[in-house]
């Protein structure tokens, strides 16, 4: 099969790729748009896979970004499931596993990331990872009261799943090799609040615990810990991070640097190829051009849209503040900005029982905020914190600390400087 009118091609039909396709049409691009997805489903939102069901929902349902019909209606060709096996850059064509070859004018790689495997768990039947809707269906079908779930990795995926499972009456153990949960990216103060919440719900969290061996038992897995403790479970979910899907780009000779390396306009080392979302690393102007790779839903959405604009020649630079959230039990956590250059944190306690931490750099600049509170109660302050971060503000510590001072006032006084 040959298709010879080159247009816009997007490899990866997750949040990022789908948003790129929709944006191309919103921008009135009239040429062919082909969206290639690895999964059997139409584009859907991934965050709900590890979160509690919406009230009134009796089971996990696809949260649709765009159905096949709605994509067809706007002239986007969705090929899913389909696998791209090679990019022929000189001819500007991609080759699919079924032998098809498709020409492109501009190509976007939105290939996402894959859960990091735990070598010691290779080949075990009752040990899985969570990334796709089908993964989530498999896991949820096995969560029922009285079952035992072991989660390896005290990161967001693992903890969100622990919260869901414990609500279903599952006996949950979380094994974290670091000294505490959420070591990467969340301050100890906030991690401790979440840890306690989990403990209150009967989740057992074991920190500083390396897995020594895993063996299959009748219908389950026995995990032997380095300190010789034993955790027996019916199902093991491994959540120890993800690695960017760079194989296609690498084989095509594109520059790779902790992900597919792009510039602030999301261009790869080939001017006809862009990359966006979890699979790419990009320079973040707000942090001195530091190269980062983000695995976050909003980044995928924003970069998908931005890549589409730049595929159309708009020449727009990335400028968003990194941001992510997590929901566990009745608590909502948010982190905005990059926390790792923090030298000082200023704490504000909100009227709703939430905690906000403002992260200051050595020069007093607000570089990040992290916080936790009931439901979405910290949302407004977070948006304002994000705007302050984007403006490279240096708010007075007393003002940040006092709940009497509205962040909106700080933002307004900032803009009059």
């Amino acid at each position: 099969m040959e298709r010879d009118q080159p247009g816009m091609m997007i490899v990866g039909a997750g949040e990022c790729g789908a948003r790129a396709a929709l944006t191309l049409r919103e921008q009135a691009y009239g040429g062919p748009v082909t969206l290639i997805g690895a999964e059997r489903h139409h584009p859907y939102e991934r965050p709900p896979l590890s979160k509690a069901l919406e009230p009134g929902c009796d089971g996990l349902k696809l949260k649709t970004i765009a159905s096949r019909e709605s994509l067809a209606r706007i002239g986007v060709t969705l090929l899913a499931p389909a696998e791209v096996v090679a990019i022929a850059r000189a001819e500007r064509r991609v080759r699919l596993a079924d032998g098809a070859s498709i020409a492109y004018d501009k190509l976007l790689l939105a290939t996402g990331a894959t859960p990091r495997p735990l070598p010691i768990a290779a080949g075990l039947d009752h040990c899985v990872t969570l990334r796709t809707f089908d993964d989530a269906l498999t896991i949820r079908s096995r969560l029922s009261a009285g079952r035992r779930l072991a989660i390896i990795g005290g990161g967001f995926i693992g903890l969100e799943l622990a919260a869901i499972a414990s609500a279903l009456g599952v006996e949950v153990t979380v094994l974290e090799v670091q000294a505490r949960i959420l070591q990467r990216g969340v301050p100890a103060e906030i991690a401790a609040i979440l840890h306690k919440k989990h403990a209150d719900h009967g989740v057992r969290i074991l920190c500083g615990q390396a897995v020594a061996s895993m063996t299959e038992t009748a219908g389950g897995v026995a995990i032997r810990l380095a300190d010789s403790g034993l955790v027996e479970s019916d199902l093991v979910v491994v959540g120890i991070g993800a690695r960017p899907n760079v194989e296609l780009a690498e084989a095509a000779g594109l520059a790779i640097d902790n992900g597919i390396a792009v510039d602030e306009r999301l261009r790869t080392s080939d001017p006809h190829i862009f990359a966006a979302g979890d699979c790419c690393s990009f320079p973040l102007a707000l942090y001195g051009g530091r190269r980062v790779r983000l695995e976050a839903w909003r980044n995928a959405l924003q970069q998908g849209a931005l890549a589409a604009l730049n595929m159309l020649g708009r020449d727009e630079a990335h400028s968003a503040v990194p941001w992510f959230w997590s929901d566990q039990y009745d608590l909502g956590l948010q982190v905005a900005g990059l926390v790792d250059e923090t030298v000082e944190m200023v704490r504000r306690d909100t009227d709703d029982g939430g905690v906000l931490l403002f992260h200051l750099a050595a020069d007093g600049r607000l570089i990040a905020a992290s916080g936790i509170g009931p439901g979405a109660s910290i949302g407004r302050d977070f948006k304002l914190a994000e705007m302050l971060i984007a403006r490279r503000a240096r708010p007075p510590r007393e003002a940040l600390q006092s709940p009497e001072v509205k962040l909106k006032q700080l933002l307004m006084s900032e803009s009059t400087h």
């Binding site: 929709l22 009230p55 970004i65 439901g375 979405a376 109660s377 949302g379 948006k383």
Partner: protein, 103 residues
């Protein structure tokens, strides 16, 4: 028409929003930068999050959870991930109170 007294006119700050629950329904009540009052459904059309925890900027409310945006005067969905418009309700300010036509 079913006008219901919702709150005092000063219970909402200028360019801000509050939550108002009435007979099992949740609304978001807004006061614009020009001291006009508006009302919409209280929950985001994306994932049913209370919009009253969000930030009002000019004519726009941003959802506190996933950053979807609506024009609260018209209910129009402005930015992904929201794509379904927000239902709006008529309001009137009278005798120091805000009234909402809950329909």
């Amino acid at each position: 028409m079913a006008w219901v007294e919702a709150c005092g006119i000063d219970e909402i700050d200028r360019e801000d929003v509050i939550r108002w629950d009435h007979e099992g329904r949740s609304f978001a009540l807004y006061r614009s930068p020009d001291d006009e009052y508006f009302a919409t459904d209280g929950l985001c059309t994306h994932e049913r999050v209370h919009l009253a925890n969000g930030l009002v900027m000019g004519d726009v409310i941003e959802c506190p959870k996933h950053s979807g945006r609506f024009n609260y005067r018209t209910g129009k969905a402005l930015a992904a991930p929201v794509c379904v418009n927000l239902k709006t309700y008529s309001t009137k300010a009278q005798d120091g109170k805000v009234f909402v036509d809950v329909g």
